[in-house]
Symmetry: none
Subunit: 419 residues, 2 copies
C-alpha cells in the first residue's frame, strides 16, 4: 500500500513556500507503514490537477492532495475534483454551520466568500469538517483508490490528517510498520558523537538504520526499523537505545518529541520549584521556549529582558562598576544578573544569559558568539562560557538551548551541559 | 520558457528531508524569468526517473534534476540518464583529477568507490566540474530541451547552479523576466480582504496574477508578472500597488521581505525613541521578534515578562485589587502593565500583552485566545481586545504580530491595527 502526494499552489513553484506539508505527510504515512511513491507540486491549474489525479490513480492506493480549497479565486482544487469525478456542488449544511460558528466566536460576519466554502462535491464519500479553519476536507473513493483533499494551511492540514484521516488509513493498511525513535543530545558535536559511538553503530542489527540530525547545539539520533511486528521493532530499538545510554548517557536529555522546555518544566514541577530568567542577547527567546509549554505558569514566574545596561543596573541590581570594569559580557555580570533575577522575581532557580549575538559588537578578545550563562539557586551560582558562531539567529537559539540544558543539569544534579 | 524540477532521493519520500532544493531552484529560475511548471520528487528508481524525464521533456525547455549522482549504491541517476540518452559511460580525466585532488587536500585516500564518479555518459554535451564535492554535474541536449543533472547536497548544487548553469540558462532565455512583489497586511482576514479588493482584482491586467498568503494574522498579497521588459513589469506592478493602497492602505504595513519587527525598529530609530515591553501570555516572543533585528539594542531597552501576578504587582506596579477586581486579562490590567513598563524600563513607548494563550484557562466570558494589548506613551494609553483561536503557539504568534502592528500604527500615527 502506498500513497501519492499532490501539493497544489503556485507559491510552491515560485520558491516562496517550501513544501513542508509534503515532508510532514510523508513522515506520518511512513510511520503508519504506508510508503510514498511520488510527491508532485503543481500550480492551481485545472489541467495539471487532472493529469496528476490520473497519474496517481494508476500507481497508488491513497492520493493525498493539499492546498487550493480556500475561499479565494486562485483556489480551484474543488472545481478540478468535481470535473474528475463528474460531480456537482451541493451545500453541506453542517459545514455551513461550522463556518458560521467559526466567525461568530470571533465576533465577525462570514461574508458570502467564506460561505461559498460550504459548497462541496455531491459525489464526495465524506466531507471532513475542519475545526481550525473554514475549508472542509474531501474524501472520494474510485476504483479501489482513496482520494483525500485537505487544506494547505499547515496546522489545519496536520490536525485534520492526524485525527480524521490517519485513523482511517490505518484501518485500510494493517500489518506493516515503520518505527522511528529519536535520542536527543546536547553538549557534544555531531562528529565527536559519531566517533564516540562508532563501535556501537557498526554493531547495529541490519534491520535498524541510524541518522544524525543536528540543529542549534542539539544532535538528534534517529533509529529506524521496519517490519511486521510493531512490538518486536519496539524491543529491538529499545535494546539499542539502552546500549547507547551506557556510552553517551551524560549527553542525553530526552527522547522523540521532547523539548528542552518540557524537560526543564517537568523537573521544576516535580520538585515544586519556581523559575525566573534574566536575558540580554537572547532577547526573550529563552522565555519563549519555556512558556510555549502549556501550564508553564505553574512554575515560571517571569523574566527580565535587560537589553540596556540601565535595566541591568536598575531592575536587576547589577553594579554599574561591574559592567564598566568587567564588561556586560562577563562571568561576573552574568552571575550578578542571575542573582538579581532570582531575588526580584522571587524564584528558586534563575538563569541569566549575556552575550554578543552579532552581527556587530564582537572584538578580538570577545568575538561575536561569545556568551556567558549563569544559574543561581540557594546552592550558589554557576557560570559557563560558550563560544557560538557568527549568525545572530543561530546564536540566539544555541544560547537558549545551552541555558535550558545547563538548567536541567543543575536542577536534577546531572551533568549534560558540557560543550 | 519554463522548467521542470525532478528531485531524486528516497529521503524526500520518507519525510526525513524537506525539499528545500526545489524551492531554492524555483526562486532562482523565477528571478531569471523562467517559470517552473512542476516539481516532482521520486525515489532512486530507474523506472520513475525515466517516466519523469519523458513527462518533463513533453512540457518544458529546461529539465533540472537533483540528487542521485553520488558514489553509493543507491545513487542511480547517472545510470538512468545513460539509458534515456542511449549512452555509454567513459572516464572523464579532468573529473578524475578533481576527485583525487579533493581527497588529497583533505589528507585522505579516495578509494575506488569515489573514483567511480569520474565515469560520465559519453553523450553528455557538457560535464560540469564540482569544486565543492566529488560528483560532477551533467548537461544533455535533446530535441530542443536541456537536461541538467546536479548533485543533491544543497551547497554543492547551489554553487554549481549559480556559477555554471544559471548563466547558460540566461543566455538561452534572454529578455524574459518574472517579477514578484509582496504587499504585507495586518488586521483584516483573507476573505474580507478578498471581498474588499474584488473590484481591483477583477480589473488587474492579464499579465499580473495575484495570490493570498496568510499566516498568524498577516496576509501577504503576492503580485506576479512576466514579460520581456523588467522596467515595464516593475512599473505595471507598481501602478497596481498604488491602486491597492487607495483601497486597503490602512492595513498595509510593509512590502516584500519586511518584518513587523523591522518596521517598528525603523520608526523608533527615525524618531530617536526607546521601546520597552510587558509580556504575559506571549512569554517573551514579542521581545524576541523585536530583538531578532540587528542593532535593536539602539532603541529597545528591555522587557518585563510578568507571568505570575506577583511580578505584575511588584515589578510593574499593577495594583493587586485591579487584578482581583477586573481579572489579569482585562483592559485595565493591560493598561497598567504598559504604564508600569514605560516607567520602570525608562522608555518613550511601551506595549503590554495579557491574554489566555490556552489550551486551558479560558471561560465562557473570556474564551481561550482572548487577549488585551495596550500601548502607553506620553500621549496616553490605548488598549484593544483581540479574540484569537484555541492553539497556544498560534495565539502567541498572532498576539505578537498584533502588538507590533498596533505599535507601528501608534508610533507613526497611522492606523493599521484594526481587527
Amino acid at each position: 500500500m502506498d500513497a501519492f502526494i499532490i501539493s497544489i499552489g503556485s507559491e510552491l513553484l515560485t520558491g516562496h513556500t517550501v513544501n513542508t506539508n509534503a515532508a510532514w505527510l510523508a513522515s506520518q504515512l511512513n510511520m503508519a507503514g504506508v510508503g510514498v511513491s511520488e510527491v508532485r507540486a503543481i500550480p492551481d491549474n485545472e489541467g495539471d490537477i487532472l493529469r496528476a489525479l490520473n497519474d496517481a490513480a494508476e500507481k497508488t492506493t491513497f492520493v493525498l492532495l493539499t492546498g487550493g480549497l480556500g475561499p479565494t479565486n486562485d483556489d480551484i482544487t474543488t472545481r478540478a475534483l468535481c470535473k474528475y469525478f463528474g460531480s456537482d456542488l451541493i451545500t453541506d449544511s453542517k459545514v455551513l454551520e461550522d463556518i458560521r460558528l467559526f466567525f461568530k466566536t470571533r465576533g465577525r460576519d462570514p461574508g458570502s466568500v467564506n460561505l461559498r466554502q460550504a459548497m462541496v462535491p455531491e459525489k464526495a464519500a465524506r466531507v471532513i469538517r475542519n475545526p481550525y479553519g473554514t475549508a472542509p476536507g474531501l474524501w472520494f473513493e474510485k476504483g479501489g483508490v482513496s482520494f483525500i483533499a485537505m487544506p494547505g494551511v499547515p496546522h489545519e492540514m496536520q490536525n485534520m490528517f492526524s485525527f480524521k484521516i490517519l485513523p482511517e488509513i490505518r484501518k485500510k493498511s494493517p500489518g506493516r510498520h515503520i518505527l522511528h525513535r529519536h535520542v536527543l543530545t546536547h553538549g557534544i558535536g555531531e562528529s565527536f558523537l559519531a566517533e564516540r559511538i562508532s563501535g556501537w553503530e557498526k554493531s547495529l542489527p541490519p534491520a535498524i538504520s541510524l541518522a544524525y540530525l543536528p540543529s542549534a547545539g542539539i544532535v538528534k539520533l534517529r533509529l529506524s526499523a521496519s517490519g511486521e511486528d510493531e512490538e518486536e521493532l519496539r524491543n529491538l530499538i529499545g535494546e539499542q537505545i539502552a546500549g547507547l545510554r551506557k556510552i553517551i548517557g551524560e549527553f542525553i536529555w530526552g527522547y522523540d518529541n521532547d523539548t528542552l522546555g518540557q524537560v526543564v518544566g517537568k523537573l521544576l514541577r516535580e520538585r515544586g520549584l519556581k523559575l525566573g530568567c534574566a536575558e540580554s542577547c537572547t532577547g526573550g527567546y529563552l522565555s519563549h521556549k519555556i512558556t510555549l509549554i502549556p501550564g508553564s505558569s505553574d512554575y515560571f514566574n517571569g523574566s527580565i529582558i535587560a537589553y540596556s545596561n540601565r535595566v541591568k543596573e536598575e531592575i536587576l541590581g547589577v553594579p554599574a562598576e561591574l559592567i564598566s570594569g568587567k564588561g556586560a559580557v562577563s562571568s561576573e555580570v552574568a552571575g550578578s544578573m542571575a542573582r538579581g533575577a532570582r531575588k526580584f522575581l522571587g524564584c528558586d532557580f534563575s538563569v541569566a544569559i549575556t552575550g554578543i549575538a552579532g552581527p556587530s559588537g564582537g572584538s578580538g578578545e570577545k568575538p561575536t558568539g561569545t556568551t556567558w550563562i549563569s544559574i543561581s539557586s540557594e546552592k550558589g551560582t554557576i557560570s559557563r562560557k560558550y563560544t557560538f558562531g557568527d549568525t545572530r539567529e543561530r546564536n540566539i537559539m544555541r544560547a537558549a538551548n545551552a541555558a535550558l540544558a545547563m538548567l536541567a543539569g543543575a536542577i536534577s544534579d546531572k551533568f549534560y551541559n558540557q560543550e
